[in-house]
C-alpha cells in the first residue's frame, strides 16, 4: 500500500525523527517498507514555466516551437502536444531533469533541425497520474520558476508498504500512524468530526434494511443534499494521486480519501437513482447479471451479497458499485454507504468475479466494524465542505448483531516463556494502550485487555504477545548461547537417497532435476496421469507418471546445443492414479513413488591417444545398473529378465525383479518414442523404484571369511551356432562344472568367416577353489575335461585348439 509521510504527520507528530529512522522502524515492527519515493529528489530541475510564445515548427506539422520563461531566462523548447498555447503556465523540465516516466535525462537536443532546451511535461510523464493526453496546464496564479515539488505539493515522501494479510488495520493511514505512535511514543491525534447538519432528518430521505445480517452485520449511511459535483481542489487531487488513484470528482475523491485515511471503504450513491429511497442488503439465490460502474456486465453466482434499492440491485456489496446509481455530474443528493461485510462473503464474490478492488481487498481482510459511523460522518463533512452540500441530520445505522470485542488475558510469565526474555509489565501496559487496547483488569501476574474492533487479528493471548514483541522490537529478544539436544534416536529419511546419489555420481552420472509438470500426451505415455485443475498452460497440466519422459526431453535439449554424450540421472517422485477412471478422493486412490532414472547416450569414452572411442550401448546400461546395484548388496536378491519387444518405450528391454515384483526396467528407447521426443541418436534409460530398493537393501549382508587356499584358473573357447545365447551356456557350465567350479566369466566373443557361417566363438574363464583345502591339479583337470565334453555335446560346440 502507498502511504504518504505528510499525510501520516497529520495524525502523529513525527518532528525531529529522520525519515530513514521512520522507515527502518516501520520495517522492524512488521510494516515492511519496500520502496521509498522521495518527491524532492524526483522533481529536482522541474519548475513552473510560462509559455511566452508559440509558433509552428518549420519542418514538422505536429510540432510547435515555444519560448518558455522560467522567471530568470527564456528558453526555446520544441513541443509535440496539441494543447500547448501561449499564456499557459506549464511544468517545465529543464536541462538535467530526469523524467520519472521512462527515467530519461533531459539534455540539449535538436528536433527536426530546431534546437530545444527542455521539455514541457504531461501528468503521465511526471507519474502523478496516467493522463497522457497533452501537457499538464497549471494554475495561472503560480509563479514562474517555482519548483514543481513546491507548486504541486510534491515535497512528500511516499512509502510502498507490504501489508501482511493479518494487518487489515494497516491498510490505512490511521493504522500506520497508530503503529508509529506506539513505536516512537508519540500521541496519536485523529481528526474530530465537526458536522454542520441540516435540520431535516435523514429518515426523511432514505432507509436501510438488512435481509442478510450474517453477511452484512452493519450498514451505516449518511445523506448529503444539494451537492455540486465538480473537480476536487488541488490538495485533494494531489492526495489521491499520491496513493496511486486517479482524481474523478469531489464526491468520489472524498470517498477514496477517507478509505485511505480510515481503512473503511465507502460508496456514494446518487440518491435519486435509488428507487423508494431505499437500501436493501440481501444475497441472491440464483445466478444473475449486473452492470458495474466500469460498464462491464458481470455474471453473479448465487449467494452474492448485493446492495439493492426497492426494486433492483445497485451495487455488488463490498466489491463495486453499479452503473445505474453512480454519482454523475447531474447528481444532487447522495447517500454515503459505510458498511461492515462478512469477509468470506466478499472474498468469494471477488474471486468469482475475478475482480479485486481497493474495497474488496479491505473487506475480505476484515474492516473495522466499529468505525463505520466515523467514516461516514467524516466523508459527509468533507463532501459538504467541498461541494456546497448540506448534511441531513442523523446517521442511519443498522447493526443487528454487534460484533464482539474479545477480552484477552496476557500472563507476564507466558510472555517470557514464548519470547525468552522478561518484558517489564509497565512496558507491556504502555504498548497495549498505544495500540488502542483497553485495559480491563491487571495485577502482578497478568493484564486483561479489550481488543478494539480495528484489530480483528488479535483474539488470543499469543496475538497480544506478538504485538508486544514487535513493538518492543525483535532486536530486544536475546539469542541464547547454547541449547541441549536430547539423546534420542535421530533419523534421516533422506540418507538412502544420499547414498543412491553418491553411487550414481561415482559411476559418472550427472544429476538433473526436472519439472514434474508436463503435457497430457507425454504423461500418458508411461502411466495413469493425474491432471492439475488450474494449470498455467497445457504444457504443464499433468504430473509425470515416470521419470523417463523428462529425461528424454533433457536429452533432446542437450543434443540441440551440441552436448551429445550424456550420462544423467534424476531422483524424483512420480504420480499415478490407480486406474484411468479413478477419481482422487483419498491417498489410496493414487501412488506417489520415488524413483531414479539413468540415461545414457552418445559416447562412453572419446577417442584418445591411448585408445579408441566407445559408444554407450545396451551393455553399458546393463553393466552400470549392475555396478550401481552392487553397492546396495542386492546381487542375489534380484532376478534379471530380457525381452526384445513388448514395451511401449523400450525395444531392448532389461528388467530387475524381486519375488515377482518389478523393481526397475529399461533398455533402448524405441524408434517411435525417439521420434516423439525428436531425438536423433540412440538413448538408453533405466528406471528403478527407490522405495522398493530401500526396503530390500536394508537387509544386512553377512561377513564371508576370506579364502585361505589358492584358486586355480582354466579357460576354454568353443565355436557355437550363432543363436546360442551366452546365458544358457554360462548357466550350463555353472551347473555342470563340478563342485569345485566357483565362477564363470566370458572374456572373448567374436564372429569370423574362418569360424564358419552363422558361427561364433565364446571363450570362458573358469575359477576353481575350495574353501577348506588346496586343490590338486588332477581333480581340477578331471572336472575341466569332463566339462569340455559336456559343453561340446550339449551345444554341438567345437572346442577351439590351444
Amino acid at each position: 500500500m502507498k502511504v504518504s509521510l505528510n499525510w501520516l504527520k497529520e495524525y502523529v507528530d513525527l518532528s525531529g525523527i529522520p525519515v530513514s529512522e521512520i522507515i527502518h522502524n516501520l520495517t522492524m515492527s512488521g510494516l515492511e517498507v519496500e520502496e521509498v519515493i522521495n518527491q524532492n529528489e524526483i522533481y529536482k530541475n522541474f519548475v513552473v514555466g510560462f509559455v511566452k510564445e508559440k509558433i509552428k515548427h518549420p519542418n514538422a506539422d505536429k510540432l510547435s516551437v515555444c519560448k518558455i520563461s522560467n522567471g530568470t531566462e527564456e528558453m526555446q523548447v520544441v513541443c509535440g502536444a496539441p494543447n500547448v498555447e501561449a499564456g499557459q503556465k506549464i511544468v517545465f523540465a529543464q536541462i538535467g531533469a530526469i523524467v520519472p516516466n521512462g527515467n530519461f535525462k533531459i539534455t540539449k537536443a535538436k528536433i527536426r533541425g530546431t534546437e530545444s532546451f527542455g521539455m514541457i511535461c504531461s501528468e503521465s510523464e511526471l507519474e502523478i497520474s496516467s493522463n497522457h493526453e497533452g501537457i499538464m496546464v497549471l494554475s495561472s496564479e503560480l509563479k514562474e520558476g517555482t519548483p514543481i515539488s513546491e507548486a504541486l505539493g510534491l515535497d512528500d515522501v511516499l512509502l510502498e508498504i507490504a501489508i501482511t494479510p493479518n494487518r487489515s488495520d494497516a491498510l490505512s493511514h490511521f493504522g500506520v500512524a497508530r503503529d508509529l505512535s506506539a513505536i516512537f511514543d508519540r500521541k496519536l491525534k485523529l481528526p474530530e468530526i465537526n458536522l454542520e447538519e441540516y435540520e431535516n432528518g435523514i429518515k426523511d430521505f432514505a432507509s436501510v434494511e438488512i435481509l442478510d445480517p450474517i453477511n452484512c452485520p452493519r450498514y451505516s449511511a449518511k445523506v448529503v443534499k444539494d451537492v455540486i459535483v465538480k473537480e476536487s481542489p488541488d490538495w485533494l487531487k494531489q492526495a489521491v494521486q499520491k496513493i496511486g488513484m486517479r482524481p474523478i470528482n469531489n464526491i468520489v475523491d472524498v470517498t477514496n480519501y477517507i478509505m485511505y485515511e480510515t481503512g473503511q471503504p465507502l460508496h456514494a450513491f446518487d440518491l435519486k437513482m435509488l428507487k423508494g429511497n431505499k437500501i436493501v442488503v440481501q444475497s441472491t439465490t440464483v445466478e444473475s447479471q449486473f452492470t458495474t460502474l466500469d460498464s462491464k456486465v458481470r455474471k453473479l453466482p448465487a449467494n452474492t451479497l448485493l446492495i439493492c434499492d426497492a426494486e433492483k440491485p445497485v451495487a455488488v456489496a463490498g466489491v463495486m458499485g453499479g452503473e445505474n446509481s453512480e454519482v454523475t455530474s447531474d447528481t444532487k443528493n447522495i447517500l454515503i454507504e459505510s458498511a461492515y461485510f462478512n469477509p468470506s462473503s466478499i472474498r468469494r464474490t471477488a474471486k468469482a468475479l475475478g475482480l479485486s478492488t481497493d474495497a474488496s481487498y479491505r473487506f475480505e481482510r476484515t474492516t473495522n466494524a466499529g468505525g463505520t459511523i466515523y467514516a461516514a460522518e467524516r466523508a459527509a463533512q468533507l463532501i459538504a465542505e467541498l461541494s456546497g452540500g448540506k448534511v441531513a441530520q442523523g446517521t442511519i445505522d443498522v447493526y443487528p448483531n454487534a460484533v464482539k470485542q474479545p477480552v484477552v488475558t496476557v500472563r507476564f510469565a507466558r510472555v517470557e516463556k514464548i519470547l525468552g526474555y522478561y518484558v517489564e509489565p509497565e512496558k507491556i501496559r504502555k504498548i497495549v494502550l498505544a495500540l488502542g487496547f483497553e485495559i480491563t483488569f491487571e495485577n502482578d501476574e497478568q493484564i486483561s485487555v479489550r481488543v478494539p474492533l480495528f484489530r480483528p487479528d488479535v483474539e488470543r493471548e499469543i496475538d497480544v504477545i506478538e504485538e508486544i514483541a514487535r513493538i518492543n522490537g525483535y532486536d530486544n529478544i536475546p539469542t541464547i548461547s547454547s541449547f541441549s539436544v536430547p539423546l534420542g534416536v535421530k533419523h534421516d529419511e533422506s540418507s538412502f537417497y544420499d547414498k543412491v546419489r553418491d553411487t550414481a555420481v561415482g559411476l559418472g552420472f550427472y544429476e538433473m532435476i526436472n519439472n514434474p509438470l508436463q503435457n497430457e500426451k507425454t504423461a500418458a505415455l508411461t502411466g495413469n496421469q493425474i491432471g492439475v485443475l488450474n494449470p498455467q498452460s497445457l504444457d504443464m497440466a499433468y504430473l509425470r507418471t515416470s521419470l523417463v519422459p523428462g529425461a528424454l526431453m533433457v536429452a533432446a535439449k542437450n543434443f540441440n546445443v551440441g552436448e551429445k554424450n550424456l550420462a544423467l540421472f534424476e531422483i524424483g517422485n512420480v504420480f499415478n492414479k490407480n486406474s484411468e477412471e479413478t477419481e482422487i478422493k483419498s491417498f489410496s486412490d493414487f501412488k506417489e513413488e520415488t524413483k531414479i532414472i539413468f540415461l545414457l547416450s552418445g559416447k562412453a569414452s572419446l577417442k584418445e591417444w591411448h585408445g579408441r572411442d566407445k559408444n554407450y550401448s545396451f551393455y553399458y546400461l546393463k553393466g552400470l545398473i549392475n555396478s550401481f546395484l552392487n553397492n546396495f548388496t542386492l546381487d542375489n536378491v534380484l532376478n534379471d529378465s530380457y525381452y526384445h519387444s513388448g514395451n511401449r518405450i523400450f525395444d531392448f528391454i532389461f528388467a530387475k525383479e524381486h519375488d515377482g515384483n518389478l523393481i526397475g526396467n529399461g533398455g533402448r528407447i524405441n524408434k517411435e518414442v525417439l521420434n516423439y521426443f525428436n531425438l536423433q541418436q540412440e538413448v538408453f534409460c533405466f528406471e528403478l523404484d527407490l522405495n522398493l530398493l530401500e526396503k530390500l537393501s536394508t537387509q544386512k549382508s553377512k561377513y564371508n571369511p576370506l579364502l585361505k587356499y589358492p584358486k586355480m584358473m582354466r579357460d576354454f573357447a568353443f565355436i557355437f551356432d550363432k543363436e546360442i545365447e551366452y546365458e544358457d551356456v554360462a548357466e550350463f557350465i555353472k551347473k555342470n562344472g563340478g563342485s569345485l567350479l566357483q565362477f564363470v566369466r566370458i572374456f572373448d566373443l567374436f564372429e569370423s568367416e574362418s569360424l564358419g557361417v552363422n558361427k561364433k566363438s565364446m571363450a570362458f574363464e573358469l575359477e576353481y577353489f575350495n574353501e577348506n583345502r588346496t586343490l590338486k591339479d588332477e581333480e581340477v583337470e578331471k572336472d575341466f575335461n569332463n566339462l569340455i565334453t559336456l559343453v561340446s555335446n550339449k551345444f554341438n560346440a567345437k572346442l577351439r585348439g590351444n
Binding site: M28, G30, P165, S344, I477, V532, N534, A567
Partner: protein, 337 residues
Amino acid sequence: MLDEKIETIHSEFLKEIPEADNSKKIEEIRIKYLSRNGLLSSLFEELKNAPKEDKPLLGKKLNEMRNSIAQTFEQAKAKVDTTGKFFENKIDLSLPGITRAIGSKHILTQTLDEIKNIFKGMGFSVTLGPELESDYYNFEALNFPHDHPARDMQDTYFINNNFLLRTHTTPVQVRIMEKEEPPIRAIMPGRVYRNEAVSARSYCMFHQVDGIYVDTDVSFAELKATLVSFAMQFYGSDLMYRFRPSFFPFTEPSAEMDITCFLCHGSGCKICKGSGWLEILGCGMVDPNVFKSVNYDSEKYTGYAFGMGIERIGLLKYGIDDIRIYFENDLRFLKQF
C-alpha cells in the same frame, strides 16, 4: 697377470651393470660374463694354467669375484623383472593421464546437503513427506482457514477440492506431530509447487527446507540463536543479521530473517534492491492452532518453525540470474558444480 685381469673384468662389470636397465641388456651381460663361453669361464680356464703356488690365492679371488658378480647380477635382473618396462624407455610424462569419469550432484542437491549437515549437527532429524498433498495438511491444519486471504500468499495448483500440489514443506510438520510426541526436532526438505507464470525470477516449483522444534520450553530466543548459528555456518561468520516481524498463519509471533547482503556487504546493490539486506528465511513460534490440530497441549509445549527456499540461495551465491537454468539440465551447467 691373471690377477690384473680379474680386477679389470670385475670393474668393467661393475661399470656396466648399473646401465642394464632392461631385460635385453641384462641378457647381454649374462652372456658376456656368466654364460658357458663368458668371461668368467675363460678366467677359470686360465686358472688351470697358472703357476701352482699362485693357484690357491687366485682361485679364492676368482671365486669371490664370481659370487659377487652373480649376486649383483641377480639383483639387477630382479629389479628389471619387477619394474617391467619402467626401465625400458623414457616416456612422455606430459601426456594427459587416463581418466575415469565421475559425475556430480545437482547444485540444488549440494546446497541442500550443506544445509542438512548443519542442522543434523545441531541435533535435527530429517523427515520427508508427499508432494501431492491434501488441503488439510497443506492449509487447514496449518491454520489457513477456507476463504481466507492468507491463502493468496501461496498460489496453488489444485488437483481437486481436497488435493493439491503442496505449496510448502510445512505440511510435513503436521505429519510428524501426528505421529510422534514431543520433543520433536526435525528438518523437512523437499520439492514444492507454486502456480506462478514461469519467468527468470519465478518457476512453477522450487525446493524448500522446513524445520520444527517442539518441547516443553522452547522460546523465540532459542529460535533466534539456532537460526543465527545456521546462518553463520552457512553464509559465513562475519555476517550481520536482523529479525523483523512478518506473518505466517502457522506461526505467531512470525519473523523474517535478513542477513547483510554478501555481494555489497550492506552498502546496497541491485541484488538486495539497495537495502543492504537479503531475506533468507521465514520463521516463528508454532501457532497454538497448529498444536490444536495435532492434539498437542499448547500450554505444556511451545515450539518454533522455520522455512527457507533453496533456489534463491544459489541465485544469490553463484550469481545465477535466471531460475529456469536449474531445471534446463544443460550438461554445460551441470558440469560446473
